[in-house]
């Protein structure tokens, strides 16, 4: 190689220059895209650390003269715009809903991949369609049923809805995951005359951790970020999850915009932290969502 480098002709040199140029263009494009994607984050951060006096729209792209946490404090538990009670509502919603739907998905996924019954593929298809429906198409009867059966108001209704409509995606993720565990493992358990639940409990469950993480992250993110179910189902403003409360504070033009930005950040922090800490699993959930096993 080194001797060749001394004697390179103009043709090879030109090709090399072209390749370097292509590389520069490539990185420039990638960096530019990254900047554009992060632009909203810059705006959010910069605005949220400004004082009310400095939160003038015309200076919005500049860094704060004086960094202050006033807007964060106001958006966190201020008298007027505090999100804290609604963050608590969201937690009361997202924890049980995520746990229940993930566990249900695990049982379903196990049966539909490793303890199949005649027609189990059709059953899977039957469940799967529920993932794609626009929830508007069930919303009017759903709210009506809650009223008719006098279901406990507020968060419990929302937990119920997220568990039901989470069945398809959680089943899908677990079914794909279990399809990859060796059939021998299950067969060996069957040979030992282990029943279904025993096989699930002592053979399948212990190796399910990755799928539980993927599914739980997926459910946590989509339930935390949900707005549609909450806005239709929750009628009492004190029971709102944080998305509805955020939309309510920021939808009004009187809310100072530094507080708006701090509020948006606070409402997004839980899912962002999960994303940063467990991004790899987040990605796998996304791929499962695309039906790509």
């Amino acid at each position: 190689m080194s001797t060749a480098a001394v004697t390179v002709g103009p043709k090879i040199r030109a090709r090399r220059r072209k390749r370097t140029l292509a590389l520069v263009v490539k990185y420039a494009a990638l960096v530019f895209a990254a900047i554009v994607v992060l632009l909203p984050v810059y705006v959010l951060l910069v605005a949220s650390f400004k004082s009310g006096a400095e939160a003038d729209p015309s200076r919005a792209w500049a860094l704060p003269h004086v960094w202050t946490l006033d807007a964060w404090r106001e958006a966190w538990n201020g008298d007027q715009y505090g999100l804290l009670p609604f963050l608590k509502n969201s937690l009361k919603l997202v924890i049980p809903a995520t746990l229940i739907s993930t566990f249900l998905g695990s049982l379903n996924g196990f049966v539909l991949s490793r303890w199949r019954f005649p027609g189990s593929d059709l059953v899977f298809l039957f469940l799967l369609f529920g993932m794609f429906i626009p929830y508007q198409a069930v919303m009017i009867p759903l709210t009506q049923i809650f009223i008719d059966v006098n279901a406990p108001e507020g968060i419990p209704r929302l937990v119920f809805a997220h568990v039901i409509y989470g069945i398809p995606i959680t089943t899908l993720i677990f079914r794909s995951y279990y399809a990859t565990i060796p059939e021998d493992l299950i067969e060996a358990a069957r040979m030992d005359r282990a029943g279904m639940l025993r096989t699930y409990w002592s053979v399948v469950l212990p190796i399910s951790a990755p799928a539980f993480v993927v599914t739980a992250i997926w459910q946590f993110t989509s339930i935390w970020n949900d707005f549609l179910f909450a806005v239709f189902i929750i009628t009492d403003p004190s029971k709102w999850p944080v998305t509805v409360a955020l939309n309510n504070t920021t939808g009004s033009f009187v809310t100072p915009y530094n507080v708006q930005m701090a509020a948006a950040l606070i409402a997004s922090l839980p899912t962002l932290i999960v994303y940063i800490a467990l991004g790899r699993y987040f990605m796998r959930g996304l791929m499962a969502g695309a039906l790509k096993g």
Partner: protein, 318 residues
């Protein structure tokens, strides 16, 4: 009998989910269709059969069809139509939004994946940045995008318009989502921002799924790198493109949170899903709200059912 003992417990274990989905997905869809065909409008619930709600959403006669299509395409009202004028505007917005969103997210996502495919330094960081909007709610994203796309002109300008001005790109400044003709396409920008990373991830998996031997074989035959992509890699990506189209299309049809966060209930940003919400909450017009919900479902079913059947079938063939 022994066979049933073998698979019976499995069916039993899944049956609660089957029943719940049967009732709360399929059953409620049926109930919703029934509401859409009732005369439950404004007043108390009744059980009368009435197709009036659909009558306001569809052209009344074959003769009106041209007029209807024209109005949807142009976004202009027509005096001769008996259709709900707001609905025409909604369809116009949905059309513009879908075209801009699907094309934008697909193009940007595929390009980013193409750039990342050969392996670049810091690939993990780039991927993490492109994908992070997926973790943020449309409501929170809407807060900042509404500000970025602030349409205030001149001295009061802010957000992107102000940025363009400072960068000497003032000619790019525009009315964004309040623009009379292309407003709905501007609404697609935050949606493209949110979903491009996801599409990138899908395509990247697709690129990487092409066996290296195939690329190598083409290279041995003297094909240039570009021709390797064109003739070997791209043909392998058809299933990925199909998935991406389905995912983007069904998000587009039911887009709701983002629009509410940016435009609230204004007609100028209204889409079918937002109108449905307004009909239920403000107008208490349950029949028409249910009719729109049914149409959203039909739109998505047409898109998704063939795809689901195809996917499960090809899975079975493996």
């Amino acid at each position: 009998m022994r066979k049933i003992r073998r698979w019976g417990p499995g069916l039993l274990l899944v049956s609660p989910s089957i029943v719940l989905v049967a009732v709360f997905v399929y059953g409620l869809i049926g109930w919703n269709v029934k509401v859409s065909l009732s005369d439950w409008r404004q007043s108390v619930e009744t059980s009368g059969f009435d197709t009036g709600a659909y009558g306001e959403l569809f052209p009344g006669s074959a003769g009106e069809l041209d007029d209807f299509a024209g109005a949807v395409l142009s976004g202009n009202q027509s005096d001769t139509l008996s259709t709900d004028p707001a609905w025409i505007i909604d369809l116009h917005h949905a059309l513009l939004f879908t075209i801009a969103f699907v094309a934008g997210a697909l193009l940007i996502g595929a390009s980013l994946a193409f750039l990342l495919d050969k392996g670049v330094k810091g690939e993990g960081v780039f991927r993490a940045i492109y994908l992070f909007p997926m973790a943020v709610s449309f409501i929170a994203a809407g807060v900042v995008w509404r500000w970025l796309m602030n349409p205030a002109p001149g001295d009061r300008s802010t957000g992107l318009n102000l940025l363009f001005d400072k960068l000497g790109l003032g000619f790019l400044a525009n009315q964004w989502y309040l623009g009379t003709n292309w407003g709905a396409a501007a609404l697609a920008i935050p949606a493209i921002w949110a979903l491009s990373g996801y599409i990138m991830a899908l395509y990247l998996a697709g690129f990487r799924g092409v066996p290296e031997e195939l690329r190598e074989a083409a290279r041995m035959d003297g094909a240039s790198e570009w021709r390797v992509y064109r003739h070997v890699v791209f043909p392998h990506l058809t299933p990925v493109t199909l998935s991406a189209l389905i995912i983007l299309g069904h998000i587009s049809i039911k887009v709701f949170d983002l629009i509410v966060a940016i435009g609230g209930k204004q007609l100028i940003t209204q889409t079918p899903a937002v109108y449905m919400w307004i009909l239920i909450y403000d107008a208490r017009d349950y029949a028409k709200g249910a009719a729109i919900a049914t149409l959203l479902l039909v739109g998505i079913a047409v898109l998704v059912i063939p795809y689901l059947v195809y996917t499960v079938r090809s899975e079975r063939r493996l």
